[in-house]
Amino acid sequence: MFNKILIANRGEIALRVMQTVQQMGIRAVAIYSDPDRAARHARNADESYPLHGVAAAETYLNIEKIIEIARSCGADAVHPGYGFLSENAAFAQACIDAGLTFIGPSPAAMRAVGEKLIAKKTASAAGVPTVPGWSGDENASSDQWLSEAKKLGYPVLVKAAAGGGGKGMRRVATADELPAAVEQAAREAKSSFGDGRVFLEKYISRPRHVEIQVFADHHGNAVHLFERECSIQRRHQKIIEEAPSPAMTPELRQRMGEASVKLVREIGYTNAGTVEFMLDENGEFYFLEVNARLQVEHPVTELTVLHDLVRAQILVAAGERLPFTQDELFQHGHAIECRIYAEDPASGFLPSTGVIDMYVEPRGASIRVDSGIETGSEVSIHYDPMLAKLIAWGRTRDEAIARMRWALRKYVVLGVTTNIEYLHRILEEPDFVAGHCDTHYLEHHKIEKLPDAGRLKEALIAAAWASTFGASQSESPVARSSVLPSRLSWSPWLSGSWRNGE
């Protein structure tokens, strides 16, 4: 077993991984950028080392720096978390070359699934249903694109081969929109991923995003840990996830699970991964992609399947057998996760930056909060605006929803704007409560974006009292050159629209 694991990440996931590492009696090493030097993940580790820099490129994405720190502190393994370098085959290889164990799939497996078209072909060859499409051709003429799209039937989706997070993606409703869409998507893909190749897929209307958690070890064991549904998305960013999926039947679950395990074996994939599918209105499922990492929403699986997935990752990476067999796995109750973002729904979901002047998490039985922040934390433009994940478990979906609503109403964040009230409203929507979700839910349901001013009178009295007698005085400076003052999120001229890349 490892003696020391370096966690190549920050924020909530670094803390969450650190918890398991330390609970297993292994020393945890943190790395931190300049703005993160007092962050919780840096302080809670057994050892922590500076990355000397601010932007991700010079810090959490800097392979050389990270490998050097791992080597010099004597770490024997690296956990990449999610995002950053977690699906970077070059990083995984660099770890291996430096004599470190990379806690995740092999570089070859990452490459096999990282390129969407190849992944789709592999899935198809493994008998996994895929979305009807055309793989595209950089030299194809407009006419050829048009004829392929016509074969699929409109609407179609233009997607980036190397893409993710909605970048390089365009929905095309009619033939005359197609040439421009292909060109724009290719340009966006080139600038975001360095690869301008695009392909076509039939557009599935009202799809549900259902994914299967998979796990495989180096002894030939491969299992699935059932599904998660992640249909509530805003601009391709998941904001609410749950397990089990309200749309699942035992038969569908078994078919999707078996298809996922088959794909895992076909690729020779090891460690944790997720196979993403679209589920259409008729109960047909189509392969989307494989994510070669532990996902943000893994807690909803952990709370229903009752296994620590990070622990399983470490065991597998250390050469041990999976700590569970398919027969031993079952789903227990229902878990829902809400992602808390520092953003302002009322002004187009602009990221909100500033200092978190007051932070109080909801606490209670069946409430889990995975967070990297605290009172005094600074939220900057340099990193992802996700502050925390709030997860609630219940014996039934209704109970989980009730607990989640309670928790959202207890969650205190002052100093930056968050989507907490917006999330609460989604949780009250009749369609959501009935489980009628699809990935266009937020486009088709009008959800109030302004904060709830229901207790304005009481808030004014509290504010008046506080301004005279007892507000907590914020000591940190209002604005620094690298931080967007939080008041900007309310400014009337800041009425632009914001698109976030993954």
Partner: protein
């Protein structure tokens, strides 16, 4: 007695609140005058945390102050106020409440696109420029209807936060006979 004028950032309206400690009863009792009403309130707390009781019903709250900016969390919602009276007219980015003549860069980045020229008429919320930063694209819109007076940036240019990118003619001054260079 304390009288405070608070400006609600959401609705941009002012509210006067007067707090008078009620002598002779509990130390936390106040008589509050707000919106023409007089209410008996018990408020206690410190270090940003408190409880307000009206008609016996307790409501926990949190309050933080940063200069003239006051934030309150109460019953699941966040409220933002400015303390008026001591309010200094701030020329910094964002403290402007009236529609502005300027479209400024809200963050450092590079100008990806400019879709207006001097002399163009624009409508409120019409896109005028696109800024790129941190792998995100931000479309900047005209704050009000008007006429473009000047474009102070170029495509490909790196701009700092607060930099004015597009200026509009002052409101009421945008008939076609006046063109400012």
């Amino acid at each position: 007695m304390a009288r405070v004028t608070l400006r609600d950032r959401l609705t941009r309206t002012n509210h006067d609140v007067t707090l008078t400690p009620c002598r002779g009863t509990e130390p936390d009792d106040f008589l509050v005058e707000i919106a023409g009403e007089s209410i008996e309130v018990r408020i206690s707390g410190s270090a940003g945390k408190g409880v307000i009781r009206i008609n016996g019903r307790p409501l926990p709250f949190y309050a933080v102050r940063r200069e003239d900016h006051l934030e309150v969390w109460l019953d699941g919602s966040r409220y933002q106020f400015e303390v008026e009276g001591k309010r200094r007219r701030r020329r910094s980015h964002g403290a402007v409440d009236e529609p502005s003549d300027e479209v400024r860069a809200p963050m450092p980045g590079s100008v990806l696109k400019v879709s207006v020229s001097p002399g163009d008429s624009v409508e409120a919320n019409q896109p005028v420029a696109v800024l790129e930063s941190m792998k995100m694209e931000l479309t900047l819109n005209a704050p009000r209807a008007g006429k473009v007076a000047a474009v102070d940036c170029a495509v490909g240019q790196m701009v700092e936060m607060g930099r004015v990118l597009v200026r509009l003619e002052p409101a009421g001054n945008d008939d076609s006979s006046s063109t400012e260079q």
